[in-house]
């Protein structure tokens, strides 16, 4: 344990602070899932030029080409969050497709897509889940049949966030219907403007359509749009699922939320008493604070481990389960603090900011379910982490 940063990092931090001071007026607001406007595209370009976005992406693919120094990445994240300035773009193309292409894409695919993706010129959505294939993702049924130089695709995807604004989709399809379920899948890059694709917004419990359903009817995709080999899509996708789970349990988000709750408790009064002076609420706050701290330190541990190639399997496996639950609990606490006012979900004179918390409380329940349900996470933790056996296949009646 040595939590002192060396002098190199001190000067790096100063560099980041100076950059933010000089350029923050150019930064837009973090908005999703809206297509980036000109201002945001320029900000992203500037961040990449200075190594504050796409830091470790090789320069031949339009990235900054920096070393993979995890501490520097953390300093960047801390200073941007400290000055409340949005980091570079974060979307599924950048966080999931780009790492996959870097690892498994052809040189041509890397050249075609990485630069445009990190610069925000091409927006991607993810086509994995299907109505009949949620937790059992590998059972997916969207079919791709070879016809000349193309695949012809038929089927349906669900939970596709951002589909309505996306240019492209990275998608799992079944190309070998006779192979075992994990070995019959391929990973394709599909142009969303191809005829036969229909996007329908999916209204959720929040009252918004954060997701979509995407329907494919005889959609032609050139065979060259495959990443990895035919039948290897499951393994290609798994490379990115790890990235998604890391993204979903981000402890920085919990720390920010906790800070907002403390502000709320210091400002909001009931019967003339500030919420922060109520010992019952404080006890709950302290419980949550300890959980937030634990997860922040856990992420520091992961940071060092990835740098030094240490084995910290369990510390990694728990991030999605714990992080999503913690965020949900924080939002729930904020609502309880507001009491009756906490139920306001729309314009009202009595609104003290509950809309944001209610949305988070509901949306986070979605995140607990999505990206591998909490129960699937527990299976993974017990199997991969604790060495417990898989659930045996049920004996089907009449087939004894």
């Amino acid at each position: 344990m040595d939590l002192n940063a060396g002098p190199e990092y001190k000067s790096f931090r100063e560099e980041v602070i100076a950059f933010l001071k000089k350029n923050s007026h150019m930064a837009g607001k973090a908005r999703t899932p809206v297509r980036p406007n000109q201002e945001e595209l320029e900000w992203q370009k500037k961040l990449i030029e200075n190594g504050y976005a796409a830091r470790t992406i090789p320069s031949e693919y339009g990235g900054f080409g920096g070393d993979s120094d995890v501490l520097k990445s953390r300093i960047i994240a801390e200073e941007f969050s400290q000055s409340s300035i949005p980091m570079g773009m974060a979307n599924q193309g950048i966080s999931m497709l780009v790492p996959t292409l870097l690892e498994l894409g052809t040189d041509e695919q890397k050249k075609s897509w990485i630069s445009k993706t990190i610069n925000g010129e091409v927006i991607w959505c993810q086509g994995y889940s299907e109505p009949g294939s949620g937790s059992d993702l590998a059972s997916l049924q969207t079919k791709a049949i070879v016809d000349g130089d193309d695949f012809i695709i038929n089927g349906q995807k669900i939970w596709t966030s951002g589909a309505q604004i996306s240019d492209m989709m990275f998608c799992l399809v079944r190309t070998e219907p006779d192979a075992p379920k994990h070995k019959g899948i391929s990973y394709l890059l599909i142009d969303m403007k191809t005829p036969g694709i229909e996007v329908r917004p999916l209204m959720t419990m929040t009252g918004h359509a954060e997701f979509n359903e995407v329907f494919f009817t005889d959609v032609r995709v050139p065979k060259s749009q495959i990443v990895g080999k035919r039948g290897e899509g499951w393994y290609v996708a798994n490379a990115t699922l790890t990235h998604e789970r890391g993204m979903l349990g981000d402890p920085n988000q919990s720390a920010t939320r906790l800070k907002e709750i403390i502000d709320l408790m210091q400002e909001e009064t009931v019967n003339g008493e500030r919420l922060i002076d109520n010992p019952v609420y404080l006890d709950r706050l302290m419980r949550l604070q300890a959980r937030v701290l634990s997860m922040s330190f856990n992420s520091l541990r992961l940071l060092t481990a990835s740098h030094k190639k240490l084995d910290v399997k369990m510390a990694k496996l728990i991030v999605k389960l714990n992080g999503c639950q913690l965020n949900h609990d924080l939002a729930g606490f904020a609502i309880d603090l507001l009491g009756e006012l906490g139920t306001i979900y729309g314009r009202s004179n009595h609104d003290h900011g509950s809309g944001k918390w209610q949305w988070k409380y509901m949306f986070d329940l979605g995140l607990i379910i999505g990206g591998g349900t909490a129960q699937i996470q527990k299976n993974i933790i017990s199997e991969a982490g604790l060495g417990m056996p898989r659930e045996p296949k049920p004996i089907i009646e009449g087939k004894k």
Binding site: P279, L282, K378
Partner: protein
Amino acid sequence: MEFALSEEQEILSESVRKMLEDNINIDLLRNHSKGDDGIRENIRQLVIEMGLPGILIPEEYGGSGLGVLEAALIAEEFGRYAVPTPWIGNSVMAPTALLYEKGNFLSEKWLPLIASGEITACVSLTEAIGKRSNAGLKLDDSKVSGTAIFGLDGELNPRIIITVLDDNLILIDTENPGVTISEIPTIDSTRPVVEVVCEGVDFEIIPGGKDAIKKTIGVGRVLLAADILGASLNMISNAVEYSLERKQFNRVIGSFQAVKHMCAEMAADIEPCKSLLWYAAYAQDHIKEEADLLSCHVKAHLSEVGHDTARVSTQVFGGMGFTDLLGMHYWFKRIGLSRQMLGGPEKVRQEAAILQGFLS
């Protein structure tokens, strides 16, 4: 920056674990709970041979001058094996108290004896955390009288008692007349606590006043959390192991999701506690401004997580968990005592709030 244990720290943990693995088992713990002192003396001897009692004590006084993190890693191992030997009071809190102000004659006199294992020190700070109606010490004609309760590490005829009198830490030499030490029967037979009755006893004031009390409590809380961590990890790994052997309905019970999910939840709750503990222990020596707050958080959080782990892992064992045959209850009870010592979760969370200026 490096958020990981160093190679030396890993080696220290492993060597303590190896020593305990070879010398402690459930039968010995059970015998100990019935009054057989064999294991206690054996482990104490081995601990002394490894030089552990002097872990925090500077080399000039015969110790190894290591930090709170190293002491906590040892506490984690002691919790894992439910070791019945003085540690948190004698080897950690007593030296912390005596070292708070450097170069006083009390350190020079007593620290070498603690480091060499010649004496043990018992520490009772209950009075500074929550005064009780029928306990506490009073000054009486420049001597001290009354009762100090819940003294840690008082089972081996301690030569010195460190406790509180008003706003000071005081040291009582038990060779002075008027001191009676007796065990308080708690749920935890692995780690006895004592009551110290004083009738007009001479004492010395340990310099440092309130701040020294605070620091000693803070270090003690971190160490209790470490003990809970080790005990919890042991309960989880035993529960998982048992679930892979025990069969019902023609399958190992560890293949049922109900059981797997209980274990996964325990693992998910306990894993980040390791990082929280490392940070809190490191802060005691290196990040002064965060040390008190973190000692509260780590104590409260591990008390809650350990509490759940103790209950749920016992359930994984089914009926056997409830019996004395497997002996998992020694850890269940050890966690139960640690949870309350030096302030229960609500008490320390309240302190955490006050430290941040939220309550006055």
